[in-house]
Symmetry: C2
Subunit: 209 residues, 2 copies
């Protein structure tokens, strides 16, 4: 007889999802789809014994994630060469159950652990900057003014391998206890989505407005 379908394997014990493991996924297709939809990550690092989680833009190129910022950034200074946690969370819905206990949210999240490293290679730095622009507005890089030598010097870029990562996904309706199903209260899901509104054009010459 064949074994039952194997439980998905986490790349490491510390990325193994222990709470509600049925929500876990470790395959790169699932992980990459979440990473490529999110617009902001939270980058956790330790400075002076204190953990911080700071929101920042990011881009993925293949097996690496890139974040960037000012060369004077406290976050980038503390994260370079140090263990970090890179987390992306997409909210998909409020899950309203018939009991307080089973209220939940539908979401897709990815956690990536590893050591962030500063990118020194100039072509990789430019590729990361390009990816950061292109992911929010495809085709835009070729239309805008590229970074000057001074701007490049003022920018630090860190990268992190996607390797040690896990996804956690909840979808679907509330899971109520059987004995609560007849309670006279509305239950279901309120969908959530991050939506783009109509673009607001900047005045091309602010000094004339």
């Amino acid at each position: 007889m064949e074994e039952p379908a194997a439980t998905p394997q986490a790349p490491s014990e510390r990325t193994r999802v222990r709470r509600l493991p049925r929500r876990a996924a470790y395959d790169r297709a699932t992980i990459d789809a979440i990473l490529d939809e999110g617009l902001v990550c939270h980058l956790a690092f330790v400075a002076g014994g204190q953990p911080y989680a700071i929101p920042t833009a990011y881009a993925r190129i293949g097996d690496h994630l890139y974040v960037h910022g000012s060369a004077a950034s406290r976050m980038l200074e503390a994260a370079a060469g140090a263990p970090v946690c890179f987390t992306v969370t997409l909210l998909d819905g409020l899950v309203l159950a018939r009991s307080a206990f089973h209220h939940s949210m539908n979401y897709r999240s990815v956690v990536v652990l590893g050591a962030a490293e500063e990118v020194e290679d100039e072509s990789e730095r430019l590729a990361a900057m390009r990816a950061l622009v292109e992911r929010v507005a495809p085709g835009r890089w070729d239309e805008i003014r590229p970074p000057s030598a001074q701007e490049l010097k003022a920018t630090t870029i860190l990268r992190l391998a996607v390797a040690e990562s896990s996804a956690k996904v909840r979808t679907g309706p509330p899971i109520d206890d059987d004995e609560d199903l007849a309670l006279p209260v509305w239950a279901g899901v309120v969908p959530l989505a991050l939506t783009r509104g109509a673009p607001l054009a900047d005045s091309p010459r602010r000094d004339l407005t």
Copy 2:
């Protein structure tokens, strides 16, 4: 002569916004408004020398933030009694500038530092659970089945004082260099908002569907 308007004062050196301090706010009205609009925080803590940032629901009651989870949660175990960073980020827009360098995002974020403590008092625990439900669906607590003794036992609640906190806010159009303003490229803001869709009612008896 009067002094010029003072720079806003951070509650601590480690919550003082150093990058782009003009975006900083330290007043509780600004901070509370962001905390009360967000649906999920990222809670950063350290376990085994590794920082983690884990998304979780939360609620504010006055001067405290509450998160909850399974009594078996690795996050809650590592965070209880330990220094944490509680971060809420609201994305308001993509800021498309005429140069790569000035691309940005409009956002409102709050960072709260402190030691999380487990809540033991039963009335405070119930108040926190109520707040967690009421903030996503006002009036709902009185309609649903309240937590049973067993569910209460299975739930850990942590609280964190809002005291050591800061907000960072970016609004408005791209800030391009003067010499880029005439470039023939669209520039402006694409608004972003987390929107609620039409509620999807759960089938009241799943075994009949």
